[in-house]
Amino acid sequence: MIEIDSITKRYGDTTVVDNVSMTIAPRTITVIVGTSGSGKTTLMRMINRLVEPTSGKILIDGEPNSAIPGYELRRRIGYAIQGHGLFPHRTVGENIATVPTLLGWEKSRIDAKVKELLTLFQLDPAAFGPRYPHELSGGQQQRVGVARALAAEPNILLMDEPFGALDPVIRAKAQEDLLAIQKHFGTTIVLVTHDMEEAFHLADKIAVMDKGRIVQYAAPEEMLVNPATDFVETLIGAGERPFRLLSIGSVGEATEAGEAEGEAIAAATSQRDALSALLWAGRDALPVVGADGTRLGRVTLAGLARRAARPQ
């Protein structure tokens, strides 16, 4: 659990983060959105004390984060920086191994971890491990940056626009992987993004920042139904609301009993994508299958339409 208690950061006369308080529940994904320069990165960097607050405090699992030296705190908190921040003089493998090495892991364990993470992010360990960062594409570098943040299996993971440079296909895959990792390790994730679709898909809770303040901190559904300010409404995009609502849930949750013809949809797919598939196929219903391929039922146009309507 991360408790942020009236934290403020000023640079000279400008207040970059203004009296922010929020509580981040353990094992959840919190997404911070907001315009450029609204203080997202600064807020995030105060959690791992890369930036020292002007006033206020942050508790991690009840302990003030100022209780231990900054570097020790940061070894426990994964951090994928905006950009990617890979070390240009170290190979991909060495980059990922940095924190485990600092923590004194055994070599065999480090090697196994590097391999596991590269594979997870669709990078062949044999081909990419020995390469230098400048020999990678921007998207590959970004994935390595995220892999490095995950290497020591931290309880808390801070990610600053981690998927910005990825193409839609790899991005969707990376998002699924992140959700899987989060479920598997029970990681508490704080993620900054400019992509509202991504925010609604990943978030348990969304924090909207504007000029250093949190203007709304709520679950995605709540935010759709009751945007706190005009700014939030504009950010969400009023015309997108039904579709945003659908991107929150997965097909699994919308599955009904019954049979249907056509190409099956995986239960993990978002309801929004299922709607697209239905419209494109020109059908009223499509079968739903689980991860193992078993038929779970069907998803219907009418069912999705009901879910896309403004909740009462």
Partner: protein, 386 residues
């Protein structure tokens, strides 16, 4: 096939033609201080050999003027330099009357022009071949080996510079070692002090401008003036610090020379350390902190490795500069190759001046090649800030 003309080749050919046909090849003097008499190639070399050399130069001119393959030019340059080196030794034997130990034979302007022209051809070819750092150092070693072999074989023993060497071989090696100790020792001291100072300047911005300005001012003090300035404080130390005198610390001699070289060396080391560290990508530094490196781990694991090529460039500047500057140490009794240079000037004996100057230049040249290779190797490592 159309023959193409090489532009640089035309210039070099002109040098060669002038050096071979118009300028004197060797100089003969009845003793070491009288003015010399010029000897052309045909006079300076035994019959046949002189004509052969002229023919060789003419063929070379044709090969150099035309656009010949680079490798041909390289081999030509190297072979020509070797031929010249052997022939100048032969001319010494040829020109010196038998049993005469006073007569001196030295290379004259024609020899130097020819050598310079062929060295240009070689250097140009090497630059075009873009040799790897290892190959360049290997070539340097081969050339050094060839020179050593010529020296040991006695092929050059008749030349005036080696006669000067012959009469003071022991002093030569003593001064050589003092020269190297002065140049390398002051470099080592400057690195030991300058690196941490540079790191400090990088971290503490308030210090940076002040320190660099002071070091800049020191650089502008002429060496003689700096020696003068050092006499008083070092003399004081010699008098008042116990054991100082026993370690050779005095107002004049090696101590002020060492201190002066050290002071001159600080600026390039400190400045390049600061520039190198400032060039480390902000993202890399940020990530290093972000994933929990301590300041120390970040310095040694990220900043210094990335700044290393730039720091090495500073060290190269210092080393080459110090090898040259160490010559001045002789002025205040600090020893080194300068001893021969200044003695030679005093006695108007050019051969003695050369005995000091030639090894100094060769040493500086070799140091530059080796450190350039090292710098290139370190910045070639993928991703290093160049």
């Amino acid at each position: 096939m159309r023959l193409k003309i090489d532009k640089l080749g035309v210039v070099i050919a002109a040098l060669l033609a002038y050096g071979a046909f118009l300028a004197p090849f060797a100089q003969f003097r009845a003793n070491r201080i009288v003015p010399g008499e010029a000897r052309s190639i045909l006079e300076a070399l035994p019959a046949g050999l002189g004509a052969a050399l002229l023919a060789f130069v003419m063929i070379s001119i044709i090969l150099i003027v035309l656009k010949t393959p680079t490798i041909v030019r390289l081999v030509l340059g190297l072979v020509a330099l070797l031929v010249l080196a052997v022939l100048i030794g032969l001319s010494a034997g040829h020109l010196t009357p038998p049993e005469n130990t006073y007569a001196r034979v030295s290379p004259a302007s024609g020899f130097w022009l020819l050598s310079f022209a062929f060295a240009l051809v070689t250097a140009d070819a090497l630059a075009r071949l873009k040799l790897s750092p290892f190959a360049r150092v290997a070539l340097l070693a081969a050339v050094a080996g060839a020179i050593a072999a010529l020296l040991m074989s006695g092929a050059w023993d008749g030349l005036s510079i080696l006669k000067e060497y012959g009469s003071r071989a022991e002093t030569f090696w003593l001064e050589a070692s003092r020269h190297v100790v002065l140049a390398l020792g002051s470099l080592a001291a400057a690195t030991l002090v300058g690196l941490p100072l540079g790191i400090l300047c990088h971290r503490v911005e308030a210090l940076r401008a002040g320190v660099l300005n002071v070091l800049n001012i020191i650089q502008t003090i002429p060496s003689i003036a700096l020696f003068g300035l050092l006499i008083a404080p070092l003399g004081w130390i010699a008098l008042h610090v116990p054991g100082a005198q026993a370690h050779g610390i005095r107002g004049i001699g090696a101590a002020p020379a060492f201190v002066a070289l050290f002071l001159y060396s600080l600026l390039p080391v400190v400045a390049n350390t600061v520039v190198g560290l400032a060039g480390v990508p902000r993202d890399a530094n940020d990530a290093a902190r972000g994933i929990g490196m301590t300041d120390r781990q970040r310095l040694f694991g990220v900043e210094l490795p990335l700044a290393f090529p730039v720091i090495l460039t500073g060290i190269r500047i210092v080393l080459v500069q110090n090898i040259g500057l160490a010559t001045i140490a002789a002025l205040i009794g600090g020893g080194g190759f300068g001893v021969f240079v200044f003695q030679g000037i005093g006695q108007t004996a050019m051969d003695l001046v050369l005995l000091g100057a030639v090894p100094t230049v060769a040493l500086a040249f070799a140091a530059a090649i080796v450190l350039d290779a090292a710098t290139e190797l370190s910045s070639n490592k993928p991703g290093r800030a160049a």
